[in-house]
Each structure stands twice: as C-alpha cells, then as structure tokens.
C-alpha cells in the first residue's frame, strides 16, 4: 500500500510541478540545473532532471517561459529561463485555482475530522 500511496503523492506533485516552476521563475531567471537544485532544497518538491527538463521544453513551446543564453564563468554559456508575459498571467491564474482547491479540500478534511 505504501508504494501505491507514494505513486499517488508523486501524481499530486507532478500536477503541481508546473505551478512550482512558474513560482520559482517569478522571483528571477534561473538556468536548468539551478531549477532542479532549488526544488531539491524544498522537501516535498524534489523533482528529477528527467522530469524538469521535458516540462521546461513544453513550457517554452507553450510560450509561458522565454530563454536567453548568458555567459558562464565556467564552461559554455547557460540557458536561462524566465517568465514571459503570458507566463506571469498563467502563474496568477494557476495560483488562484490552487488556493481555491486547497481551501476546499482543507475544509472537507477538517469536517471529516470533526465527525469522527
């Protein structure tokens, strides 16, 4: 059962990952490895590079993020990601939906605890 629960939790996280990445980029531009590292710093939000990179390329295609090459002190230039105007709007809409859902579910769970 524990494995099944883990897979359900990872489904939650996967659904929220787009919102998480948009929220990270809202604070300033980041390059790919930095995004993975910032996620790793937050317990519960860790995501592998194999999950993050395909999502970044989808966000780029959707026009939600823009990219710029910038010189790196070590090695070749790095590709930095930042929110586009459409991305900022998307972030606003997604965070509103997230809060609505979170409040509704919290309310439901609180009622359940009272009844027991």
């Amino acid at each position: 059962m524990a494995a099944e629960r883990d897979s359900r939790v990872s489904q939650f996280r996967k659904g929220a990952l787009e919102l998480v990445i948009l929220a990270l980029l809202d604070r300033g531009e980041l390059y790919g490895v930095e995004i993975v590292d910032r996620l790793a710093e937050r317990p519960g939000l860790e995501a592998s590079a194999g999950t993050v990179y395909p999502l970044l390329s989808r966000l780029k295609k959707a026009g939600v993020v823009d990219t710029t090459w910038r010189e790196s002190p070590v090695g070749p230039p790095r590709k930095y990601y930042r929110l586009s105007a459409a991305g900022t709007q998307e972030l606003g809409e997604m965070s509103r939906s997230w809060r609505d859902i979170a409040v509704a579910i919290d309310g439901l769970l609180a009622e359940g605890v009272h009844d027991e």
């Binding site: 489904q11 790919g32 194999g50 990179y53 999502l55 390329s57 090459w69 070749p76 230039p77 590709k79």
Partner: protein, 303 residues
Amino acid sequence: MNDTHTIAAYLAEVRRHLSSLGASERDEALAELESLLRIDADRVGEAAAVAALGDPAVYAAGVFEAFEPDHEAEADGRPVPQGHVLGMPYDFRGASVERIGSRVWNPADPRIFMPRMFGVGWTFNLGAIAVKLGLIRPDDVGDESYDRIPTGALQATLAVPAVLATAAVALMLVAWPTLPAEVPIHWGVSGQPDDWASRTVVIGALLALAIVPAALTYARILRPQVSARSRLLAAAGLGMETVLVLGIAAVTVADANGGASGNWILLVVLATVIVPFLMLYMPLRAGLRAEWREARTQDGRSD
C-alpha cells in the same frame, strides 16, 4: 455526428476510443458503463440515458485517464507507447517527424531506451546518449537551434541519405553479376548463413527499400515551407534506414564474394546508430555555437 442513441452503439463507440487501453481494464470499464446505462434506461428510457452521458469520445477519455494517469506524458515530451506485448512496448502508427523528435532525438528525456517508433521493441534516444557522453546539456538544443544551423551544414546533412542510397543502388548493380542465384538472408549467431532466397527477390526488395523511402522523404522535406527542424529529423530517420539497406546490401555482396563474418553484421548495427547520431549532433552543435556567438556579441554590447 455518430448515431449513438442506443446503449449498444454507445458502448461500441466508447470501446473504439479505448482501443489502446489494456483489454481487461477496457472490459471492466465497459461492463460497469453498461450496467449503469441499463439502470438509467429503466428509469428515463434508453435514448435519454445515453444522451445524458454526452460524447462517447469524452467519456472514453475520462476512463482512459482513470486507468492510465500517465497517458498525458507525451504532452510533456515524454513518449508513451500504444501498449505492451510480452513486456515490450509497441507503436504501429507511422513514424512522424514529431515522433522522431520525441524518441530518437530528445536530450531533455534521460531515458536511452524509448518505445520504438514503429513496431515492437525499443529505439535509442540519441539525444540522451549525447547528454550521457557529456557532448550537450539536456536543454541546450531548443527548437530555435535548428534555425541557426549554417546552410552548408544543413545541406550536407540532408545529402547524407541520398549518398547512402545511391551507394547502395550502385553496389547492388555492380555486384549483381557476381551474386549466385540464391543469396543468404539470415545468419546464425556464429555468423554462418542459415536461410537463403532468390537473388532477384532479395536485390529487388533492397533496391525498393533504397529508393522508395528516400524519394518519398525528399519530396516531402524539400518543399520550401518545411522547417529546418522537420528536414533534419526526417533526414536522420531516413539516414538510419538507408544505412541499414546499404549495410544489408554490403553483407549480401560480401557473402557471395568470399564470406561475411558476424563482425560485419555488428558493424551494420553500429552504423545504424552512429550515422543518424552524427547527422543530428554535428549540425545541431554548429547551430548551438552560432546561438552562443550571438549571445556573446549581445553581452559585449550591453556591457
């Protein structure tokens, strides 16, 4: 509009949309749907019960999502097979440029073994191999990199399958008189041939395989409105196919002229990986360098 006013027609339509779901899951979902519909039909009538469920395609999509929460993965650029047989993924939809882009060259996805583009089994994700080899980073190559490939590099790469196909045709025509009436078509693990067929059939089939896909692909990708990305990905797919045909023709000819060892077959298999790899990596590397040069001049200007 599909005529789905009866329960049977509705179920058949949902079943059709669920063809890629596992058989037991599909039967389970359809049995449940049928029992629900029958209960409803007793109350409000068959047509109303069916109408209340709406579009069968939408209903099927809901069922699909319930059973396969990962089915949206392809939207993330992570390909999913149509299904599995004996544990191996299968996909019998024709190879499109998008499918090549998501399976043969997808550096963002770390998996090296991707569900095969056509048929059963796996295919190599050459993009993931380039990342593992440290040649590129997973997000280096974007759609815009294809447009930065220098014209000469792109044209040279697009010419590779034509050269390979021409070489295969020339080799077969030149070697035709040296071939026996029956040529080997299958080799055992020791490299010894264990099955033969008529040279007319074998060479005829190989000639068709060298010419027809190349002609069709070039006719499609050399039209002016086709993007550099579509051209390169399609050419790499064709490169993989033509190098295989050239390899099989070479082994067949070599076998008739003194014997081909098992190493030849290994060499052909390696070439089907290395040729498309170089066809993608070399021009994209040049495109990437052009992007970087441009970024450096812009940085220099803003300083």
